[in-house]
Symmetry: C2
């Protein structure tokens, strides 16, 4: 049994709260005995729901929070005003180190803002990206950033690449993960201003395995392990993935139900198809971590069911076990030292040239 | 029989040139007797290939062009240097009104640059967008812009919305088409700088049916007829559409072939599935027009086969028949007049205030 990981779970966030959230939490503690979940939310509601399950009482704790942040609320305002909300109370548990991690299916905006304002960034991290795993032909890729920082700058994207590599190498166990930047062509001179400025910076990074540009068509092929982009583009990729997948599967089902002959066929292919399509189901991989904070914050889909909540909680264990934040601190810390040395050199050179 | 439309076709452009290109041209003239195709390229190669087909000799002409622009060449340089290339020779046929339209599966960059430099923009059009039709659940949507203008400005996006509406209403026959802007949330205050600035301008347009933001997940549902975005984002959407569709269908085939039982089922569902998936095949709708030029330029996929080339040529007929460019001239012309009036008012107000 490894080190215990304590996960604060927003019992009130998401379309299927509290039922599916609590169900997922119970599945997680029943799967691993070194996980402890703190369910944060309305105590009476949580207590009543827990009556439906068998679990080790030592692994579940309740922290009462009477308020809820709704998805439609402006995030900054909500975080500031609703101090008694499940989201704010749970994030404070991470801030004061009572919990290692936080999992929520609630308002994306509030999670992103709250993560930065309450838990805070690791020193040197300019912007913490939201980085979901997306399914590919034979595995998964990490998409950074996916909604946390629109209109990002090149230096942000370089940090996304570094932190994404650390995540894929340590949490997903991919040795020397490949990194590519989303572009509209394979050549170095292609792209918008941001990509053109970021490309040479990534190329110059000695601590990542940068393989160049990736066109969106190659993302589902699993052409790169870490896919770097600005948040607006990342959000479009993530949501189109979901939407197109659902539409295509819907069309296929419709096609299969269109004749008597095809209906019989559908019955025969169903088990095999289900298995194949399962590998393309994002909820298999848990939620998206907000990387670069002084603690782990995981955002799961608003529509999360127990499986995704459970997988997200299990993900926290890997994050802690592999000391992701310690590695990020080290790598980003080195960059800060490098920058400081450079700045000093520049200053002393300027001083010298003035003296001359 | 309607007015004759003359289409210059780049016989040498694309992965499957000249065979599939010429095949598509022949299919088009054999389908419609009011289409004439000028095949531009190496005369001997074209002549030899034409021996394989039966067609009305009056509907096919050859214009010799000894040179070819390769996909890897820098577009501006290629257009300037290779005056004898099939692409430049064909675009000049549109410029001097010998042809109404141009269709090519060749280098995207060269087609975009050549269209603007040789054929030229309609007066008042700031940037001509590339606007492919993308398949949706029950129809198609027009995606503008899709690769012609990265780092566009809000005024460009407003013109994309107007020209896109004209195209969908007249070429696709959709009355009062709905227009939406790609965004990362449904609320007006969401988005990056470009979207936030463009949103109120679109809202203020009286000549389009603007319905607000569209999240990428709703694009495949056919939530809007005209989908407006900056070219980098559009290109990502288009290419992810292609890539994800191919990967998912590949996974489904793999699943169906995974057991004896599913193989039998696959045989039974195949005809129905084929029909359903055909409606999701982009090549059914022809290529992407570059809208806002003094003539029509259509870019088809580099991998185009005869069907897509043929459909692109047929598309030119609708474009001419419905006088798309005349309508664009009128609408954009009105905007120019409005701007001039506003400028005059501002100037005369300034003059008056100075006099006072």
């Amino acid at each position: 049994m490894g080190e215990i990981v304590i996960v604060a779970v927003d019992a009130m966030g998401g379309d299927n709260a509290p039922v599916e959230i609590i169900h997922g939490a119970i599945d997680a503690v029943n799967a691993k005995e070194n996980i402890k979940v703190i369910l944060v939310g309305k105590e009476d509601v949580i207590k009543k729901e827990l009556l439906n399950y068998n679990f080790n009482k030592d692994q579940i704790e309740i922290v009462h929070a009477p308020d809820i942040i709704e998805t439609c609320e402006p995030p900054v305002m909500a975080i500031r005003k609703k101090k008694e909300s499940s989201l704010v109370v749970a994030l404070n548990l991470v801030k004061d180190k009572t919990a290692d991690a936080f999992v929520s299916a609630g308002s994306s905006g509030a999670i992103l803002v709250g993560g930065q304002l309450i838990v805070g960034r690791i020193k040197g991290v300019e912007r913490p990206p939201l980085a979901p795993l997306i399914p590919t032909k034979d595995g998964v890729s990490l998409l950074v950033d996916c909604g946390a920082n629109v209109d990002a700058r090149p230096s942000h994207l370089v940090q996304f690449a570094k932190m994404g590599s650390i995540y894929m190498e340590n949490v997903m166990g991919i040795k020397n993960p490949t990194v590519a930047i989303v572009n509209i062509g394979a050549e170095e001179e292609k792209g918008n201003q941001l990509v053109k400025e970021t490309f040479p910076l990534l190329k110059a990074c000695s601590d990542i395995n940068f393989i160049g540009s990736i066109e969106a068509r190659d993302i589902p092929n699993g052409y790169a392990d870490v896919i770097v982009c600005e948040a607006f583009v990342g959000n479009v990729i993530l949501k189109l993935y979901e939407g197109l997948g659902a539409t295509l599967i819907g069309k296929i089902k419709e096609g299969m139900m269109s004749s008597f002959r095809s209906k019989i066929g559908a019955l025969l292919v169903k088990p095999a198809l289900k298995k194949t399509l399962k590998s393309f189901d994002a909820s298999e991989y848990g939620g998206a971590p907000l990387i670069g904070l002084n603690g782990l914050v995981i955002k799961t889909h608003g529509s999360s069911k127990a499986k995704e909540v459970c997988n997200s909680i299990l993900q926290c264990q890997k994050f802690k076990e592999h000391k992701i934040n310690e590695i990020i601190k080290e790598i980003i810390g080195k960059d800060i030292v490098k920058k400081e040395v450079l700045n000093k050199e520049v200053t002393s050179n300027e001083a010298t040239s003035k003296e001359e």
